[in-house]
């Protein structure tokens, strides 16, 4: 209880409670959908950050892992009747395996090679998805896309009429992922990832098998991206290769994480929250200009890389510390 009395603890708790309480006040399915999508992007940016931020290896092809998760669970559900609740795990594993296979040969190289490999792989995967209409007897839809059979309200198959369960589902996934990232950050893996990001030669000299550590990060990141893909599939219930596996997905994730603050636990999530909200607003206000939000994201990335390379999280940290200090001083006065 004494710990809870400090603003350092009760403020995050309050914030999380607020997130859980939001659906009590927001009833419109449209806004609930947007809120779920905002959390989805925050989740994706956080997942990407494990390899792109912590390990500092620029992956520009996370769309492939999102698609791998989404298609795996959806096909297993449509043709074998396996519930997406299990499919979520299997989809994550398939995506993780893909992340491992892309990373294994390329993470030994330095610099842009990994980034190039991820672009090449994701594009290849998108083209395959676009041009494959069947896997054996299973229809995947190719360029037309794949519709997930609608069952109405079927919680056991992760389908809901209301948007509220989707919101809670992604909120829980997001919070779990943030906790995992916090744990990574403070563990041996986190120290090793930081070391190799800051100076790979120095890391090697300290006995760190940098290739293996990078591979662990890439695999974990792809796994969580795949899990996110399954959620996306259940929310949208329509998979289109270009939208899910293409550069729009891959690049957007990277933009959010960079603007929010690469390599920090909460930065990418913050980027996801703020930018997606801005994106939604511009979509409503300037609805005749398609893709304006992507243009804005691009502009923000350029501005942040030049002027605030540590990202939005820097502002939040300042604000946070001020608020905590203020509250602590006030409590100090009360006690006195």
């Amino acid at each position: 209880m004494a710990r809870l009395a400090s603003p350092r603890y009760y403020l995050p708790v309050l914030l999380i409670l607020l997130l859980f309480a939001l659906p009590l006040f927001v009833k419109s399915p449209y806004y609930l959908h947007i809120m779920a999508m905002v959390l989805f992007w925050a989740y994706m940016a956080t997942a990407w950050n494990i390899v792109g931020g912590f390990a500092g290896q620029l992956s520009l092809g996370h769309g492939a892992y999102v698609a791998a998760g989404a298609y795996t669970s959806s096909l297993l559900f449509a043709y074998l009747g396996i519930s997406p609740w299990f499919g979520m795990f299997i989809g994550g594993l398939v995506a993780g395996l893909m992340g491992f296979l892309v990373g294994y040969p390329t993470l030994r190289l330095r610099g842009a090679y990994y980034a190039l490999a991820t672009v090449g792989f994701a594009e290849g995967f998108r083209v395959i998805l676009t041009n494959t209409t069947h896997i054996g007897k299973w229809k995947t839809g190719g360029a037309e896309g794949f519709m997930i059979p609608l069952l109405g309200n079927a919680p056991q198959h992760m389908q809901f009429i209301s948007k509220v369960p989707y919101y809670y589902l992604i909120l829980v996934l997001f919070l779990i992922l943030v906790l995992i990232c916090r744990w990574i950050d403070g563990s041996k893996l986190g120290y090793y990832l930081t070391a190799l990001r800051e100076d790979e030669d120095a890391a090697l000299a300290l006995g760190i098998n940098t290739a293996r550590v990078k591979l662990v990060a890439a695999t974990l990141s792809a796994f969580f991206a795949g899990v996110g893909g399954v959620f996306y599939a259940q929310l949208i219930r329509y998979l289109e290769p270009n939208a899910i596996a293409g550069p729009i997905m891959s690049n957007q994730i990277v933009f959010l994480a960079i603007v929010g603050g690469r390599g920090t636990v909460l930065g990418p999530a913050l980027g996801g929250l703020v930018l997606t909200l801005i994106g939604e607003i511009t979509r409503v206000v300037f609805n005749q200009i398609m893709g304006l939000h992507l243009f804005l994201y691009g502009l923000l990335v350029v501005l942040f890389v030049i002027f605030k390379p540590r990202g939005l999280i820097e502002f939040l940290e300042v604000l946070w510390n001020r608020l905590v200090n203020l509250l602590e001083r006030r409590e100090g006065k009360h006690a006195a």
């Binding site: 403070g186 563990s187 041996k188 120290y191 090793y192 930081t194 070391a195 800051e198 100076d199 030669d201 120095a202 890391a203 090697l204 000299a205 300290l206 006995g207 760190i208 098998n209 940098t210």
Partner: protein
């Protein structure tokens, strides 16, 4: 003290294209010794360190550590065998604290953050950097950066420590301070091979020195003997014994 060879280089040669950077070099470092590797600029000293630590693979020759041929091992494997090294151009993880930097090294023998922190604090006390543990590495002065570089390597608990010009760029007072640190590390049971350009310091520290020039060994022996060797004087002072270079 038994003269057991901890490190042994046998006829080690490396060529970069047409350039022979290290030429048929053989020497040993015995357990418990401090050996100095000296030579003029460009003699190939750092290349020798890079060969030992696995950054380069020799074109010819073998390197034995604890009786085991370590040629072909990756740098991280060499470190895991028990050889720590520092870099001439120090490589701190600048955006992290001193303690964080040293903990990275200390994680080699544990997965536990608490154990790693205790080990790191112990090492920081040994090198005299404990009072700076919460400072960001990039804000350290040059002498503290050098100490941090040593502390990181030391945290991996090496049997042999390769020190690459840790005294370069320090003022005389700092050199003395650093020498004391090196002696303390040696007393703690670590064998040391050091590259030094500051000859006086190298002579004061080393029980034995190996002199190389153009990648070849030109002399080896106790410091006072080596300084009187005509070939060494020639290598350092030039053919006509011109102005002192250092």
């Amino acid at each position: 003290m038994p003269h057991r060879a901890l490190l042994e280089l046998r006829n080690v040669t490396i060529k970069f294209g047409g350039l022979i950077a290290v030429n048929d070099l053989s020497f040993t470092v015995n357990e418990g010794e401090i050996v100095g590797l000296i030579g003029p600029n460009g003699a190939g000293k750092t290349t020798v360190f890079n060969l030992i630590s696995g950054v380069y693979r020799p074109t010819k020759g073998e390197i034995y550590f604890n009786g085991e041929n370590i040629v072909g091992l990756k740098p991280y494997q060499v470190c895991q065998k028990g050889i720590g090294r520092t870099f001439q151009l120090v490589k701190p993880f600048g955006n992290k604290t001193v303690l964080y930097n040293v903990m990275v090294g200390a994680f080699l023998h544990t997965n536990n953050t608490h154990v790693s922190r205790e080990k790191a604090l112990e090492v920081l006390k040994l090198v005299g950097l404990h009072h700076r543990k919460d400072m960001l590495a990039k804000n350290l002065t040059i002498v503290d950066r050098k100490k941090l570089e040593v502390a990181k390597a030391l945290a991996t608990e090496p049997k042999l420590l390769l020190l690459d010009e840790v005294l370069a760029g320090l003022n005389p007072a700092e050199v003395n301070e650093a020498i004391e640190v090196i002696k303390r590390i040696h007393r703690a049971g670590v064998t040391i091979l050091l590259i030094e350009h500051v000859l006086k310091a190298a002579m004061a520290l080393s029980q034995r020195v190996v002199v190389i020039d153009y990648g070849r060994k030109i002399a080896e022996g106790p410091p006072e003997e080596v300084t009187n060797n005509p070939e060494v004087i020639k290598a350092y002072l030039g053919e006509r014994y011109g102005a002192a270079r250092n």
